[in-house]
Subunit: 138 residues, 2 copies
């Protein structure tokens, strides 16, 4: 019996309007659900990226069928890495540049795979990395 | 060109010893990398769960081949959901109970799928959910 699937990865952002624009228009993720001032849920392949307003989710108790959804919420900068095919990696670099997103750092890992790092509007630290890291095949 | 793979999902915890015990022994994830007082990297299926000490990663600049890894780090409670086969869901509930992990809430979603919520030692909000949520097949 093994936990072998992360279904929901979360980030936190107080300004969901600029966050929605960034993840939809700049990164091209598909918005699946939205609750004004509380959350944005994006599909990302076979998992979900959930972005919550921590001022809401850490303070306002919500319920599903009368059962409480535990409070959560973080401040600061959360890290997240997307993986892309090596042939698409250069295109992402170009795309971010064209959209005026600053590449904060570019890294070449031991073994030769490359990463770029940039920030979402809330300051979360995003990475796009060439596929093959961690010897994970998919 | 699509971002369709979240490779690295992150949580933050200051006490990495109790965190390592929890994720290795209670949740059974495989530890891949460890840097004392900085991070624990766990494999989870075809992705990675990275747990960082935010006091380190938000303050201490690290480098790979002379290139900076951008600072990051969050405080508060980050949410994360694992998905498991429906037949294993009940077993996880039992396992957590046997390990004296408090189930903070149990939820039945519209459509019938069930979730349990519990906390890691740092207070992050973890969820185990029966597979099928978000109409994601895998």
């Amino acid at each position: 019996m093994e936990l072998n699937k992360i279904l929901e990865t979360c980030l936190y952002a107080e300004n969901l309007d600029e966050t929605e624009h960034f993840y939809s228009e700049i990164l091209g993720l598909k918005l699946i659900r939205k609750e004004e001032d509380r959350h944005l849920f994006f599909r990302c392949g076979d998992s979900m990226l959930l972005i919550f307003n921590p001022k809401h989710t850490s303070e306002v108790q919500t319920y599903v069928n009368d059962r409480p959804i535990p409070l959560h919420g973080a401040t600061g900068s959360v890290h997240l890495a997307f993986s892309v095919d090596q042939k698409e990696f250069k295109e992402w670099k170009k795309r971010l540049k064209n959209k005026n997103i600053e590449i904060e750092s570019s890294v070449k890992w031991p073994g030769g795979l490359k990463s770029i790092y940039f920030r979402d509007p809330a300051g979360n630290s995003l990475e796009i990395i060439e596929s093959g890291m961690w010897n994970i095949e998919y």
